[in-house]
Amino acid sequence: MNEWAAASPTVTALLGLVAGWLLVGGLGLVRPTGVGWVARVLFPLGALIGLGVAAAGVVSLMPAFATQQVVLPLGLPDLPFHVRLDALSGFFLVLLGVAGAGISIFSAGYFRAGEGTAPGLLCLQYHVFLASMAMVVLADDAYLFMVAWETMALSSYFLVTTQHRLPEIRRAGFLYLLMAHVGALGILLCFGVLHGGSWQMTFDAMRASTLAPLWAGIAFLLALVGFGTKAGMVPLHVWLPEAHPAAPSPVSAMMSGLMLKTAIYGLLRVSLDLLSVGPWWWGVLALVMGLFTALYGVIFAAVQTDMKRLLAYSSIENIGLILAGIGLVLIFRTFDLRVLAALALAAVLIHAFNHALFKSLLFLATGSVMHATGERSLGKLGGLIRRMPWVAAFALIGSLAIAGLPPLNGFVSEWLLLQTFLQSPHIPHAFLDMIVPLGAAVIALAAALAGYVMVKFYGVVFLGQHRESSLATARDASRLERIGLGWLALGCVLVGAFPQVALDVAGRVTQALVGATAQRGPSPWWMTPTAANQASYSGLWYWAGLLLVTGVTFLLVRRFYRGRSRRTAPWDCGYPWQTPRMQDSAEGFGQPIRHLFGPIFKIEREVPRPSDVAPAYRIEIEDRFWVACYQPIGRLLQRVTERMAVLQGGRLSVYLLYSFLTLIFLLVCVL
């Protein structure tokens, strides 16, 4: 025990921290109904452990760090758990730790009401979820990976169904569990292919095995389906917009910000580490799926009327961008363009990190809004910037970051992704060099639509008049909640101001996975990933310029302006009678998108007639994939199971006959 503790101190420390999370969770059961105990002691403790995990991840990203491996005396006989810490794992541990700490400290303020599940039990599920995500990232054999993966799926399932008394939440939870297992099946089969006949389940054996091209292709497809289901790749995304709104907001934040990233981790681990270099169609497939997912997600986000569903679809969009980046990595890798592969991979990693920050931030903000107002529907919110200034300010940072505006962090990763696309005409392939650069057009369209979505989200929730009179008494978030939101918002600002640091950190991972790094800038203030004369960006100087010009303008106007300000009723072209219902509703704001992309949606609309006494307007927008793919499968299953139900007659003698016949059949087989 002491030997490997000395040989691999970082991994040992990490395992200790993970055990710490489990312990914190277990302590929740000491006083299962004690809200104060869980909120004031355990969640802050969990947040501290999160910082520790992030610190250990940072250690593993230091230049001098060498990969550490440990075999744990746990697991089945002859099948011990293997644990490994390398740069890729380290990067995702930093992501998990940093965002997890923010979410935990927020949760400390959030779970004060004790909704649904008892707080102590919730605390256990929550920390098991965190610990299992850390173990997914650390696992070095298929066995431990699948155990951690399933623990993650189950613990998150229980968290999603916190409000299990509501039937629609149970339904959403079931769909999530089902899809999680479809995905897990894909991953399991993928590992089954990857060992290449050696039946060794360690990742080392999988790296060493050489697969025939056909089998390697099958393994890649299985990984794409398996991890794609977890990540929310269209058309395997259907669980995501159901499960995210069902869960309590900190859990939605963890699922969207962190859990989807473990799927990205898995895909990177399999496609870049375990599999050797593949043919170009792998990359093209991932690219096409990614671009499609991004556009599909953002178009659906624009027409949502529930703020958490809107954010869930926005997550699908971001996963699409990440997947498109992975596609580029694979294409460049096929043609041995290592520096470009490194650039694309850096964009992928930084975007994954950014998404963990801003999407967690926004989900937490919706949590505060829901606590203050009890409303999730965009149609019943509005004007909260005046009642909840702190939450509104932090949510503004998150919204602007997710819309990809400079100088925040979302811009950095989108900038890198576009730079990568600009380099794609270098691909030495007669058609790919023409087709792949056009993907930038889709990325640009998705990014611009994300701006639309965020104006809708922020404008309808926080700006304008209160759409319900009860909102006038809404109260701002508690102090712990503000700390959590502020922590994540600070992350958005810092990554935006020091993009080169993020690029350097990602460079360690790219060095390990594709054997190259993007070019270093002349100093930490400058980001020049290809060459200084080709593209340069400086987040810090950008911040400085923006603040300077805004400040100087403000001071000059103040100095020379002679008039004063007066508060009055709004002008609104002189219409004297205004009600909050005259503002755009969420449906109204999404109307142009609905009109433009009409054929994509399945729209059901009820428009009131002039003679109606109580006119009501109702619109429902359904996912065509749900109607066209999932419902037929569901119906088919239903029909088959109904046929099978004939077997279940309810008479004991018939069942005994079945047993007898099975026995005979088996005997015949054996003989």
């Binding site: 611009a448 593209a535 007066r566 709004p570 002008w571 005259m582």
Partner: protein
């Protein structure tokens, strides 16, 4: 001599801030002349600014800090955009801080703050304007980016000064077919982004058709002055982006000398005069599109830019 570069940088910004209202005045004058109206003075925009800066500002009762702060952010974004567009010289330190992709980001920042501020008071017209502006914006932004991508791929860089230098050092003037596509797309984007006909009418006050004006309805005095100034700056910036990409002649490239800048200034004024007249002519000759025809117009701009990209990639080999 490094400090001189920074001084010139400041000069370029101030020149843009100063010239932008004049350009707007020129376009207005041309429009009036073409439409057989008696033209307002060339200095009318400056008078408007002076008037607005002397008035008492009224704020709606419910206006928040976002509403009050947005005009400053919008104005600052446009000034920064002017700082990175090589309108006079290619020796711009700011152009290294933010390349042309960040320039698109600056325009997006201004648009988002404007739309959010319009939604802040919660009036029917404000939200309507914000929605329409974002509808136009989500199509023009990728179209502009794709126009720039054409230039990026040709010059192998995303820095605007380097693009100018690349164009100017080419020995013979050849018409790239992809740039022709890009130029048409760019003009369409320029019209839509600057609230010009056929998408929006800058002089309209007909409630149901306006876009930009609907967003600024609640603003008055100093805030309105900043927003108007920013929108003139935006037009000026777009014109300068057009010169940078398609007609960079006259821009001082080798070092910064007062003579070179003076020459560049002359060239810029001449180009602006022609561009303003052309804009007025185009606006006079075209009628306003129905709002739901606007996406078709903009989709065409986007597809033209993408087509230009494809043409470039096809002809590259």
């Amino acid at each position: 001599m490094t400090w001189a570069v920074y001084l010139w940088q400041l000069g370029v910004c101030l020149c843009a801030i100063g010239l932008a209202p004049l350009f707007a005045g020129w376009v207005g004058q041309c429009r009036a002349l073409l439409q057989n109206r008696s033209a307002p003075s060339l200095w009318q925009p400056y008078r408007v600014l002076r008037k607005l800066f002397h008035k008492e500002a009224t704020l709606a009762n419910d206006a928040s800090w976002l509403f009050r702060g947005a005009p400053y952010v919008v104005f600052a974004a446009m000034v920064l955009a002017a700082a990175i567009i090589p309108s006079l010289t290619t020796e711009l330190p700011a152009a290294r801080v933010a390349d042309a992709i960040a320039l698109v980001g600056l325009f997006a920042t201004a648009r988002m703050f404007m739309a959010l501020a319009a939604m802040d008071v919660g009036t029917a017209f404000g939200t309507m304007g914000a929605r329409r502006e974002m509808m136009i914006g989500f199509l023009t932004e990728p179209a502009l980016l794709m126009v720039l991508f054409n230039a990026f791929l040709m010059a192998g860089t995303t820095a605007l000064p380097a693009i100018v230098q690349n164009t100017l050092t080419q020995s013979q003037v050849t018409l790239h077919p992809s740039l022709a596509f890009a130029a048409v797309a760019f003009v369409m984007v320029l019209l839509a982004e600057n609230a010009r006909l056929p998408i929006d009418n800058p002089t309209t006050h007909l409630e149901l058709t306006m876009i930009h004006e609907a967003m600024t309805l609640e603003y008055s005095a100093r805030h309105l002055a900043l927003i108007e100034w920013a929108s003139w700056l935006k037009l000026f910036n777009y014109a300068c982006i057009g010169f940078t990409l398609f007609a960079p002649w006259g821009i001082a490239t080798h070092g910064v000398s007062p003579g070179g800048i003076a020459l560049a200034m002359l060239a810029l004024v001449a180009k602006l005069a022609v561009a303003g007249a052309a804009l007025a002519l185009f606006e006079t000759a075209s009628a306003k599109l129905r709002l739901f025809r606007a996406p078709e117009f903009l989709t065409m701009a986007f597809l033209l830019a993408v087509l230009g990209l494809l043409v470039h990639l096809l002809l590259k080999g």
